[in-house]
Each structure stands twice: as C-alpha cells, then as structure tokens.
C-alpha cells in the first residue's frame, strides 16, 4: 500500500493504544498513596495499597486457592478434552452436531447459574466449599473452551506426520512426544492459557459453590468502591498469573520439546 501508509499506521496505533492504555491506570493507582482531586498526578507514591492487601492472611490464601483450582481444572480439561478434540478436529464423527451442542451449552449459560445449580448436589456429595468442588464447577466452563481451541490443531497435517512417524518405526509413545505434541504445541499452549484464564476469572461460580473459601476475585471485590488503591494493587497481583501463563506457554509454543 503506497497510499497514506503513515496515516494508516498512526490510526492503527491509536486504536491499539485506545484498548491498551486505559488499563494502565491500575498500575498508577496501585502506587498512589495520596491522589486527591483535582490533581491529575498523585501527590504521594507508596506501597500502602499492597500493605493493605496483605493485611489479612486471606489474600495469600485466596491467590493460592485460585492457582490450585485453575491448574486443576485446566489439567482435567486437557486430559478429558484431548481425545475429543482429536476426533472432532479430524472430522471423524458423522454427526458432530450433538457434541458441539453439548460443548456450546455451558458457554451460553451464566457461570453463576451453573454454580448455583451444582450447589444442591455438592452439598450431598460433601464437596461444597472445597477445592475439589470448585475444580468441578470451573470445569463446566473450562472444558468447552479447551476442546474448541484444541480441535483446531488437529487435522490431516498432523495425521500425515504421524503416519510418517509410524512408517519410520516410532512407537506410539515416541510418536506422541516427537511428532504429535510438537505439531500441536501452539494450539495446546493456547488451550492451556485460555483454560487457565477462564478458571482464573470465574466469579459467580466460585461464589456459589466455594462459599466459605477465599478466591482471588472474591477478596478483591470489597475494595473496589471504598479503597481504590488496594483494589488497584490487588488487580495488579491478579493479572500476574495470567500474564505469566501467557509468557510461559508462548515460549513453550515457539521452542517445542
């Protein structure tokens, strides 16, 4: 394109910044000990927000719980979803519609609703307010996303390489490690990150079945109105694990096994 490339590029940059910059306020507010109106820049910088965030022990416990639940739900979703994604991705089902409907339903229904509906049974199974119960509740939302992302990685390209591996004498385990996993690494990474994020962001379902257990978004919420600095500090902490997950898997995808 010769036509006004600079203008187009500047326009693109403006759009990009319009979506990126508003979030930066979290990073400023978290370190602003004093920021009285009508000043546009904080008067005092400091770590009061983080001190308040860690004032009670609940924050550390909540983040620990959220990480354990997110990892558990993602791992379970990958294990259950892998074979299904394979079959769907390779279009081996004659009527895949039924499966796709089963996958789509949990995405349409509010997570708070599924959580509330499961409460009844979780009480009977004595897994209410437990990490195991939270993993199952989150799985309802995580599994469809994991399958839908993962299936895009499978198809004739992968099966052709696997056939090549078979004729070269690679045993099933080696084929998986040397051919299949490296071939689907990018989508596997994407599915893992997305699964983690979906679980990490769950609010309603955690509230419904996790009642007494502190989870990251639940401890953040009460600060939003009354204490913006602590809310911002907790927000910063809250985005660290997803960003780490994003970086780690992006790395894993670019330099596979």
């Amino acid at each position: 394109m010769v036509r006004r490339p600079l203008l187009a590029r500047a326009g693109g940059l403006a759009i990009g910044l319009a979506f990126a910059l508003p979030l930066a306020i979290l990073g400023v507010r978290a370190f602003a000990d004093t920021w009285r109106a009508p000043a546009l820049v904080p008067q005092d910088w400091g770590l009061r927000g983080f001190e308040a965030a860690f004032g009670g022990g609940a924050t550390v416990e909540a983040f620990g719980n959220s990480i354990v639940v997110a990892l558990g739900a993602t791992a379970l979703a990958l294990a259950l979803g892998w074979p299904a994604a394979r079959v769907l991705g390779e279009r081996r089902l004659r009527r895949p519609g039924v499966v796709f409907v089963a996958l789509a339903m949990p995405l349409l229904v509010p997570p708070y609703a599924t959580g509330a509906g499961l409460t009844e049974w979780f009480i009977r199974l004595r897994i209410i307010d437990s990490l195991g119960g939270l993993v199952l509740a989150h799985l309802t939302a995580v599994l469809p996303y994991v399958v839908l992302v993962l299936l895009a990685g499978f198809g004739t390209k992968v099966t052709e390489l696997e056939d090549m591996g078979r004729t070269l004498g690679l045993s099933p385990a080696r084929r998986l490690a040397w051919v299949t996993l490296p071939s689907v690494a990018p989508t596997l990474a994407a599915a893992t990150v997305l699964g983690f994020l979906v679980s990490w962001s769950q609010y309603g379902s955690s509230l419904a079945v996790g009642g007494g257990l502190p989870m990251a978004p639940l401890v953040l919420f009460p600060f939003i109105g009354p204490d913006p600095q602590t809310a911002a500090a907790l927000s910063l902490l809250y985005v660290i694990p997803p960003i780490l997950a994003l970086l780690v898997t992006a790395r894993a995808a670019s330099s596979p096994l």
Partner: protein
C-alpha cells in the same frame, strides 16, 4: 458397511464420550439442581413437596420484571455496540503488524472484574476523566441506565470480536479481494461481496457468546451497576442474601430463566443469520 469401519466409529465415539459425559453430568446436574431448588422448598421431602409457589412469586415480583428488562437492554446495547465497533477496528487493523494487534488485544486476558476496577478509576465520581474534563456531564458508573456496565463489556469484548474477525480475514481475503477488484468490483461492492461474507460467520458466533456473557453478567454490575434495577444474576444473588429459605428457590428460578433466555437468544441468532445467508 464393513465391521472394521463400524468398530472405528465406535472407537471415535468412545474417545468423545469422556468429555461429553462429564459436561452432560455437570451441566445437566446444574440444570436439574436449579429446577429442583426452584420447585421444592428447602426442608420439604423429595419431589412430593414440589410446588409452583416460587415461580408464581417470581413472575409476580415487579423487581424481577425490572431486572429482566434491564438485563435485556444492557445485553442488546453492549452486544450491538461491540459488534458495531469491532468491524471498523478489524478492518483498520487488518494490515497492521503483530505489535499493534497485541496492543488492541490487551484487554482479552484481563478478567472482567479488573476492567470494572479500571472503569471505576477512570469514570467514577472524582475519577480521572472527571478531573481531566473538569466534571463529567453524565454519571457513567453506578448510573441508573447501566452505561457503566455497557462500557466495561464493550471495552472488553470488542477486542474478542476483532480477534475472531482478523483470524477469518487472514485466510485468503486479500486474494479474493484482488480477484473481485480485477473483475471490476468497486470498493463498496468488494466490502459487500467479499469482506462481509468473510467476517459475518465469526461476528455472529462471537456476538452470541458476548450476548450470553452480558446477559449472565454478575460481577460487573455488582461493581459498576446501579443499586436498582439489578441484572438477572444480581437479582438472584440479592434473593439469596435476603431470606435464606425462600431466597434459594427464587434465585434458582431466576437463573434457570436466564439460562433459558440465553440459549433461546443464541438459537434465534443462529436461525436469523442462516436465513439472512439464504436470502
């Protein structure tokens, strides 16, 4: 049909079975749980004590009707605004590099709750926008119209729709546009005949997901929504905070209804898109 082929088909079904049955169990269990809680009062014995009292109470409650109307309005506004904004943004970013696309995609991994926090910091009373402009003419957070909720979802879901459309545009759109141009199609015709059919599918699917998301909105209205009217999900939540005995049933009925509406809207959207395609 050979036996070998049939056994392969059974094997393929068996491979899909774990994921599908776990989902069916969890999702089906959730629906059954909501149904039971909405019909059987707490403490009653089994299904014999089932009544429609809760449903009658719910549908007669003007607060519920307000919540329903409010939720639907917010859903339509947020979904339509996201879709309307996403199309020009996707077109503008079509030829931009990874860096700019990544900037625009930044809200995607950020949980809704954090977007709500940022919205309060920017748009709340005494927030940064207030200070920059020397006073906001309208209230944008915790406002009665739910503008804050809509803004949070538009900011968060527009990049999602943009990403879906960019993925679809990556597959041969350039080549097909060139082919149309060589055949004499004007820019407007190219947009209508080549670009629009390419992005329509992902836009419809993405909008359905966004719509379902906003309809079930919970933490965002709790953070930036008005105290009244509530959304459907926060109405359900409020019910459980009131009287524990009747509240659980009311909440379950509300959420079940919300789920049904979400699915019905999705089905209607798919139908509508298909008809439009056929026309």
């Amino acid at each position: 049909m050979s036996g070998l082929h049939a056994s392969r088909r059974w094997r393929d079904r068996a491979l899909v079975a774990p994921a599908v049955s776990v989902l069916a169990l969890l999702f089906g269990g959730a629906v059954a749980g909501m149904l039971k809680t909405s019909l059987v009062p707490l403490g009653a014995d089994g299904l014999s004590g089932a009544t429609l009292d809760t449903w009658r109470e719910l549908l007669g409650d003007p607060a519920f009707v307000d919540a329903l109307v409010f939720s639907l309005r917010v859903t339509v506004l947020a979904t339509a605004a996201s879709a309307a904004l996403a199309v020009p943004v996707a077109v503008a970013l079509r030829r931009r590099g990874l860096a700019i696309r990544s900037l625009a995609a930044l809200p995607l991994p950020v949980p809704h709750l954090l977007v709500a926090v940022a919205a309060v910091l920017w748009l709340g009373a005494g927030g940064l926008a207030d200070r920059l402009l020397g006073g906001l003419p309208v209230n944008l957070v915790r406002d009665d119209a739910g503008v804050g909720i809509v803004l949070v979802y538009v900011f968060r879901e527009t990049p999602f729709l943009v990403l879906l459309m960019l993925a679809a545009m990556g597959r041969g759109l350039q080549e097909r546009t060139e082919a149309a141009a060589v055949l004499g199609a004007s820019p407007g015709q190219r947009a209508l005949w080549v670009l629009w059919p390419t992005i329509r599918g992902p836009l419809v699917v993405g909008s359905i997901i966004v719509g379902a998301f906003v309809l079930g909105a919970f933490e965002v209205p709790l953070a930036v929504g008005p105290s009244y009217p509530p959304t459907l999900a926060t109405f359900a939540f409020d019910a459980t905070q009131g009287s524990v005995l009747a509240g659980e049933g009311l909440a379950a009925a509300t959420l079940l209804l919300t789920s049904t509406i979400a699915v019905a809207l999705a089905v209607a959207a798919v139908r509508f898109a298909r008809d439009a395609e056929g026309a």
